[in-house]
Symmetry: C2
Subunit: 416 residues, 2 copies
Amino acid sequence: MTFSIQNMASQAKQAANVVASLSTETKNRVLMTISANLQAHTTKILAANQLDMKAAKENGLSESMVDRLLLTEERIIDIAKAVEHIASLPDPVGLVTKTSRLPNGLNVSKQRIPLGVIAMIYESRPNVTVDAASLCFKAGNAVVLRGGKEALHSNLALADSIHQALEQFDIPLHAISLVPDPDREIMNELLTLNEEIDLLIPRGGENLIRHVSQNSRIPVIQHYKGVCHLYVDQFGDLTKALNILINGKTQRPGVCNALETLLVHKDVVKQFLPVVAATFAEKKVRVHACEQAIEYFDNADLATDLDYDAEYLALEIAIKVVDSYDEAVSHIQRFSSGHTEVIITQDISLANQFIRQINSAVVMVNASSRFSDGGELGLGAEIGISTSKLHAYGPMGLESLTTEKFVVLGDGHTRV
Amino acid sequence: MTFSIQNMASQAKQAANVVASLSTETKNRVLMTISANLQAHTTKILAANQLDMKAAKENGLSESMVDRLLLTEERIIDIAKAVEHIASLPDPVGLVTKTSRLPNGLNVSKQRIPLGVIAMIYESRPNVTVDAASLCFKAGNAVVLRGGKEALHSNLALADSIHQALEQFDIPLHAISLVPDPDREIMNELLTLNEEIDLLIPRGGENLIRHVSQNSRIPVIQHYKGVCHLYVDQFGDLTKALNILINGKTQRPGVCNALETLLVHKDVVKQFLPVVAATFAEKKVRVHACEQAIEYFDNADLATDLDYDAEYLALEIAIKVVDSYDEAVSHIQRFSSGHTEVIITQDISLANQFIRQINSAVVMVNASSRFSDGGELGLGAEIGISTSKLHAYGPMGLESLTTEKFVVLGDGHTRV
């Protein structure tokens, strides 16, 4: 019998009713069992991963992709610990978020419920399989996982550990479904199943996300890129500014919350840019500078709009001098990807103005953009990040995998 | 020069930045001025409406459509009063919904911000023009209004009153844009403008909503239909049940929160259905009954799955006897449109179980489904209702026209 994604999604939808009504205690016990299974099955999982690694090398995958694909005993322990951490997080399902008594005596409240079925489409990291499965499950949803073909053996082995845990608790295995066929047509069919699937979360490169967004009949969490700005104001503390700049650009340049553009107020240029230039030279950061900034750097290019629009994801940065706070805000509003923007200032009025005027998902004062992450912002864990404003905006934790219903308690109330 | 919807949407996007930063006080003053203008321009508005009415009669529009289209002095006063009411509602923008201090001293909060640009696509009621414009504006958004062609003259006259108010406060007129050309191709182009428009809210028949959902590149608030269920449990108070049934089915049968299906526990059938039959005969409610219920009614049809799936929007109802609470829940889960479901029971455990198990947008105990409305549930006003779980679920008030950003305050914090 050939595989049917439609059939898998329908069974996931049925399983979703079961997951939605599990108690927090049961869900946590399932998650702890998944963690134990992963560790107990390490040998099998590593053997499956070796098949993927061999194929990856034969197919000449890039070193960074091969590294993402690789599982080790240590990495499996990390994956298992992450599942235990998700078990320890508060359960959003059933939370009463608002409650009021209306003048006619009706009691109206809002209560958190799961979304239903979530589909994850991702690339080569096998840890996403376990991570996404655990988060969706903890929030009471069924999940359909479609990973990259280069990680298929690893994903199947991981799913096996998960399914053994579900089986032990008599939970339908389709509660956590892994698409066993990496065919692109099957993925495209998945995008059309809006009767079965409530939300689609793509995780990967901009091309994958655009493909999913443009072809989906299901609501999609969009996150194209992170062009994060740091604006150093005339009243900024330049020591804080330098630390935050270095942290944002060099600590982990390949991630979406790394800094991509530095804006500097003209009054602090002379004092600030020479120190920046010295540090960037030492850290080997390539600089694209505007006309007013370029003189401070050896080997800098002249920045163009393409630089201001770029997500370098590398030791590379665009630097621009602005004449005023307003010019900084205009620049950010024009080039922002809606991810994270930071102001460095000691001026409380200006800080408040920045918070009011900038409507990116995360707006920061005197802190590193690298904190723009679900774990760092106190969400406990992150399923993804949204740069479109619908449903969720910014880092998404368990709560973003739920919605709210109205609960109305009357005593025979009718409408007049 | 021909009209360009792309141009209109781009200008709306620019205007959205202005509206987002208006103070609550200014927004309220603009709304009060709109209300005053509408009343001052009554003669002009009624004259424009007469043009639409004349065309409607010439084109043989149905009586109910003509009635929806009609404006009178009294209706204009009602529309103006509704605008004043929106001015009196709390402003969701800027509301801090969560705040916490992390172990490292970072202060993280969430703050409500406008969505940006909202597009409304609707049919013949001219009051939607003013209502939607006021709600979107109060929530800090720009709005693109695309009403039905049969109401175009009325809508243009109403928009003129609105624009005079915007002008008086130096707000770009594109903050509230009315599409002046009812051409269907222009509407279809509007559906593709996902760079400019953040949210699409269609209001009208199921065909319009399906067309919009299927062709939109912009997130859409979906509300196909309301198949609301009333389940009368074996422990239900039958007097409450009868009142709530009559209220739900007959008070205003043409709306989405009217009842469409009655489920009755077998143990109360003999006591309850004869009273229901007598009342429905008197109120001329047409009945589609299951085999066990049909004997209680004169002239009832035998109900089929088509009946259980139907949104009659008329004095017509499906009635089914169930053997148990579980059968009632299964029936609702199968046929629910996700709108509103009601249980009549005095059993507190069963009431709680119903609240847990039914994940429709509104779940009620001992209250009429007719309360399932933004105004009645205390939201102040309603922009629409969502039966899909993403972003908003159920009646949507001002808050649903906003989203939340993260605000992070540090003091030189960098990530380790």
